[in-house]
C-alpha cells in the first residue's frame, strides 16, 4: 500500500471564526470538525449520507459533513450546531422551541435536525406541517417519531403546535 499523501493545510471559517488544521486529504469535513477542531456537536450517524446527523451549513446551505472532504471546504464558511445560538449561554428561538416542545430525547440527531430546521426557517418563516416534514425528511431520528420536532418548528415560527 502506498504511503498516504501528506497532510494539507485547510483554512475555513467556522461559526464566524477563522480555523485551520493540517489534515490528510481524505479527511472528511465531519472528522476535521470533530477530531481536529474539537467541535464534537456535529455527530457521525451513518457516514454514508443518509441519516443527516452530521448536517452543517456550508456557505449557508445544509450539507452532509460526512460526504464532503475538508479540502473541498477550503476558504468556505461553515456553521455547526455550536454556532446557532446568538450568544454563549443563550439559545436561538429554534433551540428554545426544541427544548420547550420536547423535540429530542437522546440528542444524537438533534444537531443535524436543528441545522435542517434552521435552514427551513431561514427560507420559509411560517412553514406548513408538510413543509416541515419535507425539510426534515433527510434527517433520521429514532427517538421522537418526529411529532415533537414538527411541533417545535411550528412553535419557533410563531404557529400554535398541533399536539402536546
Amino acid at each position: 500500500m502506498p504511503a498516504p499523501p501528506p497532510p494539507v493545510l485547510v483554512e475555513i471559517t467556522v461559526n464566524g471564526a477563522p480555523r485551520r488544521a493540517m489534515v490528510e486529504p481524505r479527511t472528511t469535513l465531519l472528522d476535521m470538525l470533530r477530531e481536529h477542531l474539537g467541535l464534537t456537536g456535529t455527530h457521525a450517524g451513518c457516514e454514508h449520507g443518509i441519516c443527516g446527523a452530521c448536517s452543517v451549513l456550508l456557505e449557508g446551505e445544509p450539507v452532509r459533513a460526512c460526504c464532503i472532504f475538508a479540502v473541498q471546504a477550503e476558504g468556505m464558511s461553515v456553521t455547526t450546531v455550536e454556532g446557532l445560538a446568538p450568544a454563549r449561554g443563550a439559545l436561538s428561538r429554534l433551540q428554545d422551541a426544541f427544548c420547550e416542545a420536547h423535540a429530542l430525547q437522546c440528542g444524537y440527531c438533534t444537531p443535524g435536525m436543528l441545522i435542517a430546521c434552521h435552514d427551513l426557517l431561514a427560507r420559509n418563516p411560517r412553514p406548513s406541517e408538510e413543509e416541515i416534514r419535507e425539510a426534515i425528511g433527510g434527517n433520521l431520528c429514532r427517538c421522537t417519531g418526529y411529532q415533537q420536532i414538527v411541533d417545535a418548528v411550528k412553535l419557533a415560527s410563531g404557529q400554535e403546535a398541533a399536539h402536546g
Binding site: 500500500m1 504511503a3 498516504p4 490528510e24 481524505r26 479527511t27 470533530r34 474539537g38 467541535l39 464534537t40 456537536g41 456535529t42 455527530h43 457521525a44 450517524g45 451513518c46 457516514e47 454514508h48 443518509i50 441519516c51 446527523a53 455547526t80 450546531v81 455550536e82 445560538a85 439559545l91 433551540q95 426544541f98 427544548c99 420547550e100 420536547h102 429530542l104 430525547q105 437522546c106 440528542g107 444524537y108 440527531c109 438533534t110 436543528l114 406541517e129 416541515i132 416534514r133 419535507e134 426534515i136 425528511g137 433527510g138 434527517n139 433520521l140 431520528c141 429514532r142 427517538c143 421522537t144 417519531g145 418526529y146 411529532q147 415533537q148 420536532i149 414538527v150 399536539h163 402536546g164
Partner: protein, 808 residues
C-alpha cells in the same frame, strides 16, 4: 377512572433538564471523549457464514507505519473469559475475536490498532486471512432438522433453549371450544438501530491498575461482566455512566466491544477507542432483534371469546447468545395479552443459526408476541363474521377483576382496558375513519382500518432468568438512588446508570422535588461511575419511572424524615405534630415556629449538639429498591410474577395501499395509552410517538435480510430503511390514567409504549385493506414488494380465492 392524585411537580409540564446541552452541541457522547495518545481500532471481519480460519497473516498490516497492533482470537481468547449465554448452554461461548472457526458473516476475526481510524482501516485491508468454508444454516426451521450443520458442535444441538410450558388444561379447553383456528405469523429480524453506533473508549493506568471505560451502553450488570471477562477484580474497572448515549432502546450492549477495547488499552498502555462504522454496526455489532415464527391455535366460542391458546414461538437468535433467549421469556408475563384467555400452552424455542447474534430490542420480545396474539383476535372476528373491536371488547379483562392473575402466574396490577379503547375510538373518531376508508376505496385505493389492544409489561424484573435457567437464582433486579444535601442546602441526586434519551435527570429531579417540596430545577442529578455507584440494573424493561423513580422517592423520603426528626428535636415537639410543607418543617398548631430548609440543613451539617441523639451528622441518604412484587422463584410448572406493572395501549390506524405499487400510507394514527400517573408527560408522549414510528418500521420497512449463503443484504441505510418524517404520520395520543397500586406515585413504565402495539395495528390495517381482494399477509415487514406479490397472487387465484401466504 380512578382520579389521579394531585401533585405539585409530578405530571406537570416541565422542560427536560437534559435538553439544553444537546441543542447547543454540548452533549458528551462516547465518541467525544478525547484522551491524549488515543489509538483507534478497525475490525477484520469474516466474509463467510461458516468457515475454518486456515491462515492469518498480519505482517503487511503490522509493517504499515502508525500501526500498533493486530490482535487475533488466537492471542486474545486465552487471556480472557468467554461471554456466556443467560440460558444453561455453557458450550455456546462467545469471544470478541474468533479463533479457529467463524460462525457468521461479519464475525470479528482480528482487530487492528493504529494512530487514526482511517489508518487502522487501511491496515485491516492488509490482513490476509484464508478461510475454508464449512456447511452453514441460516433458516431456523432447517437448523432444527436432523442432520443440520451445528453452529456450536460442542453444544450438540442448534436449539440453545427449548421448553414447553403448560398453564391449565389447554387440550381439554381447545377440544371443548366450539371453534378453533390455527395460524402462522412471521416476525422478521429488525432492530432499534440507534443513530449513534456503538462506541467504546478505554484507558488503562499501570500505576493505579485501573481501567477507565466510556461506552455507549444500556446493559444490566455491564461493569461486573466486563471485569469478569477481563479477569480483573470489579474494582479495577470503572465504567463512566456520565456518557450520553445516542439512542439504544435495548440494543446498546457492547460487551464484546468493551472487552476488546479494554484488553487492548491494557496491553498497549495507551487509550483506545473503537467506533463502529454503520456496516460494522449492522453486521458485526450483534444488535439485531427477534426473528420469530409463531404457530398459534386458538379455541373460542361463538361470541368470539377465546378460551385457550397454544403458541409455539421459534426464535432465531443467530450464531451466539447473551440474553437473547430471554426475549421469549418476558412474554410469559403477558402471554394472554389484555385478554381473559383461561389456559395456555407455550413452547419457546431459541435456535442458533449462522447469522449475526440477536440482542435485546425495545419490548424484549413482547412486540412480536403481541403481533401474534392480535393477529389471532382479527382472525377470530373474521372467522365468525364479527366486528374486530367487538371481539376485543368481549375478551378484554374487565376493570373489576384487577388485580388479575393470568395463567402463567403474573398478577396484572390495574387497568381499565375497554375504557382506553373507547377513548381512542372516540378520538379518531371511528365513524370518520369508516367514511374515510370508503372515500379512499372510492378513489380506487385499497384502504383499511387497523386495531390493536395490548399490554406493556413494565418495571423490568428479570424473572425470566430463573424461569429459563434453573441454575440461575436471580430474584432481585433492584435500582437505587443516593441523595446528598450540601451545607448550602443544594440537593444532588446520584443515579447509577447511563441514560440513552429517557430524561432520567428530569425524572429524578421531579420526584425528589415532589417529595422534598423543592424546585426540581434546583436539584442536580449526576450519573455515577461503576465504582462510586449503588446497584442498578440499567434502564431496561420500561423500568426507570418505577424503579429509579421509586428509589429517588425513597431516598428523598429518608431525607425528609431525617429533617422532620431534627425539627421535632429542636422544637421539642413530637414528630406527629409536624408536617412537611414547602420544603420546611412546620408545626401544625404553630406554623410560625416552622424551621426552614436552610436552618435544618445547617443543623445537620454544623450543629451536632442540636441533632437528635444517635443521628449521623451531614445530610445524605441512599435507597435501594427491589422490584415490587418480585423476589420469588418460579414454580416447577413455570409460573412466576414477571414484571410488576402493566401499561395498556389501544391503537387505531387508517391506512391505504396503492394497488399498483404496494406502498402503504398511514392517514390517521391514534393511540390510547394508560401508563398510570405520568411523572413527565412530555417524556412519556415522546417515547410513545417514537415507539409508534419504530413500530411502523418493523411493520412496513425494516428487515435484516440474509442471502441463502448467510450474507447480510441490508447493512446500510440504503437497504435497511428507517422511517423518516415522510413515512411517520401525525400521531394523536389519548391519555388515560389507572394508577398502579404498587408504585410510589401510581406510575407505570412507558419506555416501550407505541412499539408494543404499533406493528400489530398497522398489519391489521394492511390486511383490512387487502381483504376485499382476498389477499392477506402474515409476515412482517409488509414491504411494497411483499404486498405487491400478495396482490398478484390473489388476482391470479381469483377463480379459486385462497388467501395468499407470504413466508419470506
Amino acid at each position: 377512572m380512578a382520579e389521579a392524585p394531585r401533585f405539585r411537580y409530578i405530571g406537570r409540564r416541565r422542560r427536560a433538564v437534559e435538553h439544553r446541552r444537546f441543542v447547543t452541541g454540548q452533549g458528551r457522547f462516547a465518541a467525544d471523549i478525547a484522551l491524549p495518545g488515543l489509538l483507534h481500532v478497525a475490525i477484520v471481519a469474516s466474509p463467510h457464514a461458516s468457515a475454518r480460519i486456515a491462515r492469518l497473516d498480519a505482517s503487511a498490516a503490522l509493517a504499515l507505519p502508525g500501526v500498533h497492533a493486530v490482535l487475533t482470537g488466537e492471542e486474545l481468547q486465552p487471556e480472557i473469559e468467554p461471554m456466556l449465554p443467560g440460558v444453561d448452554a455453557p458450550e455456546v461461548r462467545r469471544f470478541p475475536l474468533a479463533r479457529g472457526v467463524v460462525r457468521y458473516a461479519g464475525e470479528w476475526v482480528a482487530a487492528v490498532v493504529a494512530e487514526s481510524r482511517a489508518l487502522a482501516e487501511d491496515a485491516a485491508e492488509l490482513v490476509e486471512v484464508d478461510y475454508a468454508p464449512t456447511p452453514h444454516v441460516v433458516d431456523p426451521e432447517a437448523a432444527l432438522a436432523p442432520g443440520a450443520p451445528l453452529v456450536h458442535p460442542a453444544h450438540g444441538s442448534n436449539a440453545i433453549f427449548r421448553r414447553e410450558f403448560l398453564w391449565g388444561p389447554v387440550e381439554e379447553d381447545l377440544a371443548a371450544s366450539p371453534h378453533r383456528l390455527s395460524y402462522r405469523v412471521r416476525w422478521s429480524r429488525s432492530a432499534t438501530v440507534p443513530i449513534e453506533t456503538f462506541v467504546c473508549t478505554a484507558s488503562w493506568n499501570d500505576a493505579t491498575g485501573l481501567l477507565d471505560v466510556w461506552a455507549s451502553i444500556q446493559m444490566p450488570k455491564f461493569p461486573d461482566l466486563l471485569a469478569r471477562c477481563l479477569r480483573l477484580p470489579g474494582n479495577a474497572v470503572r465504567v463512566h455512566f456520565d456518557v450520553d448515549v445516542g439512542g439504544s432502546y435495548g440494543v446498546k450492549r457492547g460487551l464484546k466491544h468493551a472487552i476488546l477495547v479494554g484488553h487492548l488499552a491494557r496491553r498497549l498502555g495507551r487509550p483506545v477507542r473503537f467506533l463502529e462504522d454503520r456496516l460494522e454496526n449492522m453486521r458485526g455489532g450483534d444488535m439485531q432483534g427477534p426473528d420469530r415464527i409463531f404457530d398459534v391455535t386458538l379455541g373460542f366460542d361463538g361470541q368470539g371469546v377465546i378460551r385457550a391458546m397454544r403458541m409455539r414461538a421459534l426464535d432465531d437468535v443467530g450464531a451466539y447468545a447473551g440474553r437473547s433467549p430471554f426475549q421469549l421469556g418476558k412474554p410469559v408475563g403477558a402471554i394472554v395479552g389484555p385478554y381473559t384467555i383461561g389456559s395456555v400452552a407455550y413452547e419457546a424455542i431459541s435456535v442458533l443459526t449462522n447469522k449475526t447474534p440477536q440482542e435485546a430490542v425495545r419490548g424484549f420480545g413482547q412486540a412480536p408476541t403481541n403481533y401474534a396474539i392480535e393477529t389471532g383476535l382479527d382472525r377470530v372476528a373474521r372467522a365468525l363474521g364479527l366486528d374486530r373491536i367487538e371481539v376485543r371488547r368481549r375478551n378484554l379483562i374487565p376493570p373489576e377483576r384487577f388485580p388479575y392473575l393470568i395463567p402463567s402466574g403474573t398478577l396484572y396490577d390495574s387497568g381499565d382496558y375497554a375504557r382506553v379503547l373507547d377513548k381512542a375510538l372516540a378520538a379518531a373518531p371511528f365513524e370518520a375513519l369508516l367514511r374515510q376508508r370508503e372515500a379512499l376505496r372510492a378513489e380506487g385505493k385499497l384502504a383499511g382500518i387497523g386495531i390493536s389492544t395490548c399490554l406493556e409489561p413494565s418495571g423490568g424484573n428479570s424473572s425470566f432468568e430463573p424461569l429459563f435457567n434453573p441454575k440461575n437464582t436471580t430474584t432481585t433486579w433492584m435500582d437505587s438512588c443516593l441523595l446528598r444535601v450540601d451545607l448550602n442546602g443544594a440537593v444532588t441526586a446520584v443515579m447509577a446508570t447511563s441514560s440513552s434519551g429517557q430524561a432520567h435527570e428530569t425524572l429524578v429531579s421531579t420526584v425528589v422535588g415532589e417529595v422534598l417540596q423543592r424546585d426540581p430545577d434546583s436539584i442536580r442529578v449526576i450519573h455515577a461511575d461503576s465504582l462510586s455507584a449503588l446497584p442498578s440494573n440499567s434502564p431496561v424493561g420500561s423500568r426507570m419511572a418505577i424503579m429509579l423513580g421509586g428509589a429517588a422517592a425513597g431516598a428523598a423520603k429518608r431525607i425528609r424524615d431525617r429533617l422532620l426528626r431534627i425539627a421535632a428535636h429542636n422544637l421539642d415537639l413530637p414528630e406527629e405534630a409536624l408536617e412537611w410543607r414547602d420544603g420546611a418543617a412546620v408545626p401544625r398548631a404553630a406554623p410560625e415556629r416552622a424551621l426552614s430548609w436552610a436552618r435544618l440543613v445547617e443543623i445537620a451539617h454544623r450543629e451536632f449538639h442540636n441533632l437528635p441523639p444517635g443521628m449521623e451528622p451531614g445530610l445524605q441518604e441512599a435507597f435501594v429498591w427491589e422490584v415490587p412484587g418480585g423476589g420469588g422463584l418460579p414454580t416447577p410448572d413455570g409460573r412466576i410474577q414477571m414484571y410488576p406493572c402493566h401499561s395498556f395501549e389501544a391503537h387505531v390506524v387508517l391506512a391505504s395501499v396503492d394497488p399498483e405499487t404496494g406502498k402503504v400510507a398511514l392517514h390517521r394514527y391514534v393511540v390510547g395509552h394508560d401508563c398510570g400517573v405520568m411523572i413527565s408527560p412530555d417524556v412519556v408522549h415522546g417515547m410513545t410517538y417514537g415507539g409508534v414510528a419504530h413500530g411502523l418500521g418493523a411493520a412496513l420497512m425494516e428487515k435484516f435480510a440474509y442471502s441463502p449463503d448467510g450474507q447480510l443484504l441490508s447493512g446500510s441505510f440504503m437497504d435497511y430503511l428507517l422511517p423518516s418524517a415522510q413515512e411517520v404520520p401525525p400521531i394523536l395520543i389519548v391519555d388515560h390514567c389507572t394508577p398502579s397500586p404498587l408504585t410510589e406515585f401510581g406510575q407505570k413504565g412507558s419506555g416501550e409504549a407505541g412499539y408494543l402495539g404499533g406493528p400489530a395495528a398497522i398489519a391489521s390495517a394492511v390486511n383490512d385493506a387487502l381483504a376485499p381482494l382476498g389477499a392477506a399477509l402474515d409476515a412482517l415487514p409488509m414491504t411494497p414488494a411483499a404486498i405487491w406479490r400478495a396482490l398478484r397472487a390473489a388476482r391470479a387465484a381469483q377463480s379459486a380465492p385462497v388467501p395468499a401466504r407470504e413466508t419470506a
